[in-house]
């Protein structure tokens, strides 16, 4: 990745963290905030805490509370997109680990998502039908998906040790094409192009979470349930990833990203850490794949293509490279973009819907939707090249300084 300055971002994220004088403060007030100065860090531990400012903590709690009630506010069609977006966010976090934090650009994410999706589908599949199915529980299938995809990631990680930058990107893209070939040929698993196979069956303790029905005595639609399922996994995996990046592993990754030779000289074993980055990232992709096709009911082998990989890259770029929250925001943005463009008929009621354009005009409204998709991505990145995270920083700083501009 074109060296995105992580340090700068972290600074921007916590500008009120003063430089520390550990030795002194740690000895006296480790972990305790001064009563009148809630924003003053008194220990390294506080600076590195998961949610290191009160506002961050409050914001996250508020967001989570809002998310928890969302299934009773939004229409099923939106909950469906949310569930897809949450699943995609898990994949985007995974990609951000390897690309944003460890600096290894991977266009092979679609392949690992496919591995996860097919593993989970095969584990939960009905043993009596034509396609491979083991009839196992969903709670087993998702970890299995993570494991299989993670192993696949480990296997290809040696490539990353040998190759750099765009070369690595296109080689991992080769993986996607090879994958497409494998999925096309392995029809007992995938059902073949065009028809596909049944996706992941979400059955936990006898309750079908991908179908409408009672859960804990409350009637919920499939979309409401899957919203919660994906949300819970997303929160858990996001916290895990955030912790990972705060640990020695995360620091090693950042060092490798910023200058791999320097990192090696400092005693960071490149092979090991790159392998870990690919393994963990792919495991996230595996979970994402399993969840995506818990929401969507059919897996078509044609889905795991170049476009899917690029969409994940777009998610982390739009959201903000090397931030967990950015990956989530980016996944939401990219997943909702088609929905937003589908509002085109409302905004442009004068554009014809007639596919034959009997009333004249250059394009119909569906073509306009497609064009808007491209235009919005371009416009967003041209105006806001640092992504949603950068936008957030700008807005926050504006209000912080208000009413003064600077």
């Amino acid at each position: 990745m074109s060296t995105v300055n992580d340090r700068e971002r972290e600074d921007a994220a916590s500008p009120d963290a003063p430089p520390l004088d550990d030795a002194q403060s740690v000895s006296r007030t480790r972990g305790r905030r001064l009563s009148r100065r809630p924003k003053l860090y008194t220990s390294y531990r506080q600076d590195m805490a998961l949610l290191n400012t009160p506002s961050k903590r409050n914001a996250v709690l508020a967001l989570l509370a809002f998310a928890a009630v969302s299934p009773w506010l939004f229409a099923d069609s939106l909950l469906f997109i949310f569930a897809v977006a949450f699943a995609a966010a898990i994949g985007a976090i995974g990609l951000n680990l390897v690309t944003g934090f460890a600096g290894q650009v991977s266009l092979g994410h679609a392949f690992f998502i496919a591995v996860g999706a097919y593993t989970a589908a095969a584990f939960t599949g009905d043993p009596d039908v034509r396609h491979i199915g083991l009839g196992m529980q969903w709670v087993v299938a998702v970890p299995a998906a993570a494991l299989t995809a993670g192993l696949a990631g480990l296997v290809i990680s040696p490539l990353a040790v040998r190759l750099r930058g765009l070369y690595l990107a296109i080689v991992t893209l080769g993986l996607v094409f090879l994958g497409e070939h494998i999925w096309k040929e392995w029809r007992s698993l995938t059902g073949g192009l065009g028809a596909g196979r049944r996706g992941v069956i979400v059955e936990v303790a006898g309750a079908r979470l991908d179908r409408a029905g009672e859960l804990f005595g409350i009637f919920m639609t499939a979309q409401q349930k899957m919203f919660y399922v994906t949300l819970i996994l997303l929160v858990a995996l996001a916290i895990l990833a955030r912790n990972l990046t705060r640990s020695a592993i995360g620091r090693a990754w950042s060092a490798i990203r910023d200058r791999d030779i320097a990192a090696e000289i400092m005693g960071i074993p490149l092979t090991k850490y790159k392998a870990m980055a690919f393994g963990i990232s792919s495991a996230y992709a595996g979970v994402a794949g399993a969840l995506l096709y818990s929401v969507t009911r059919v897996i078509d082998p044609g889905s795991f293509n170049l476009l899917m990989s690029i969409q994940y890259i777009a998610m982390i770029l739009v959201g903000g490279v090397a931030t967990i929250s950015g990956a989530i925001a980016g996944a939401l943005f990219i997943s909702f973009l088609p929905f937003i463009t589908r509002q085109a008929p409302v905004l442009f009621p004068f554009i014809a819907t007639d596919p034959a354009l009997r009333g004249g005009g250059l394009i119909n409204v569906f073509q306009l939707e497609g064009i808007l998709y491209g235009v919005l991505i371009i416009a967003f990145l041209v105006l806001q090249p640092r992504g949603l995270f950068g936008l957030w920083i700008k807005i926050r700083n504006y209000w912080k300084g208000w009413p003064f501009s600077y």
Binding site: M1, S2, T3, V4, V105, R162, L163, R164, G165, L166, Y167, I170, V171, L173, G174, F177, L178, E180, H181, I182, K184, E185, R259, I261, A262, I265, L306, I310, I313, A314, L317, V318, V321, L362, I363, Q367, G370, I371, Y373, G374, V375, L376, I377, I378, L381, V382, P385
Partner: protein, 297 residues
């Protein structure tokens, strides 16, 4: 033996078109360090323009190509000036995703013009062929090969012997130094996009020659990806050799794989270039002709 020679000849014919697209990618990469995902769409747009001008517009094929070349150059220049110039100095992957957005936009507009029928290219070569020593040479393949050769020779001359070519090489070598020496780097960027668009359009013409184009033609543009990596991202000769190699590998696998390696599954020829790319990179991590990055701490 003649089967082998035949598939080599066919592969070279296809490969010439791939090489043209690949060179477009490389020219943009050299000047701006961006892989432009808009190339496939520009290719399809160029092919569509020629097809519409010849069959619907009734223009002579070569006139149609000339008009398209001028239009493509203007389009490439315009896109760079209006959309990509503000992004100079921004992370290259952001720019790459922007080109992807461009790709979507150009493709949908192109599809609108292709319409619901397939479009014959209206080229003079058609399916004519000549037998030499038991090997069939398709005229369109020969034309593609010769055209690619001429264009690349012209490009070489341009880069070697003109002031602007020198400026482009200088900018590719080191933008800031070139800027300090009075090179108008902006013009260089614009010109690279114009070149790339023209090359893509001509490649599109040869992809459609003797056949038809439809809304799916843009996919062929992706064949340039293994080609440029194979040859080395920043090497024009590398892109040419990469493109030809992709053509040949495809043809060889198409001819022999079902007989000798059926266990690879049907139609392995489509992915074979990627496998070749992988193998080459294991030995040479910067492709065959790419410049290794100087590593400093």
């Amino acid at each position: 033996m003649s089967l082998l020679a035949q598939s080599l000849v066919n592969g070279l014919g296809q490969g010439a078109a791939y090489a043209l697209i690949a060179v477009g990618f490389v020219i943009i990469y050299k000047s701006t360090y961006v892989i432009s995902f808009a190339q496939p769409a520009l290719m399809a747009a160029g092919a569509t323009a020629v097809a519409l001008l010849t069959v619907q517009g009734g223009f002579n094929f070569f006139v149609a190509v000339a008009i398209t070349v001028v239009a493509a150059a203007a389009l490439g220049f315009g896109i760079e000036r209006s959309i990509l110039r503000p992004m100079v100095g921004k992370p290259v992957f952001i720019v790459a995703i922007i080109t992807l957005g461009l790709d979507v936009v150009i493709r949908i507009i192109t599809n609108r013009f292709i319409g619901f029928e397939v479009r014959p290219m209206g080229d003079p070569w058609g399916l004519e062929r000549t037998q030499v020593l038991g090997i069939t040479f398709q005229h369109r393949h020969v034309a593609a090969f010769v055209t690619a050769g001429v264009i690349l020779a012209l490009l070489y001359a341009f880069f070697q012997y003109t002031r602007m070519g020198l400026a482009m090489r200088a900018a590719a070598f080191d933008q800031e130094t070139a800027l300090a020496q009075g090179v108008n780097v902006g013009t260089v960027f614009g010109l690279s996009w114009a070149f790339a668009a023209v090359l893509a359009a001509i490649a599109g013409v040869f992809i459609g020659a003797g056949s038809t184009i439809d809304q799916g033609t843009w996919v062929v543009g992706l064949k340039a990806l293994p080609a440029i990596i194979l040859g080395g991202l920043d090497s024009v000769p590398g892109a040419v050799i990469g493109g030809l190699a992709v053509g040949i590998v495809e043809a060889l696998f198409a001819t022999y794989q079902s007989t000798y390696m059926p266990w690879l599954g049907s139609n392995f020829s489509v992915v074979a270039p990627y496998v070749l790319m992988l193998l080459v990179l294991m030995v040479r991590p910067y492709g065959l002709f790419g410049t290794p990055e100087v590593q400093r701490v």
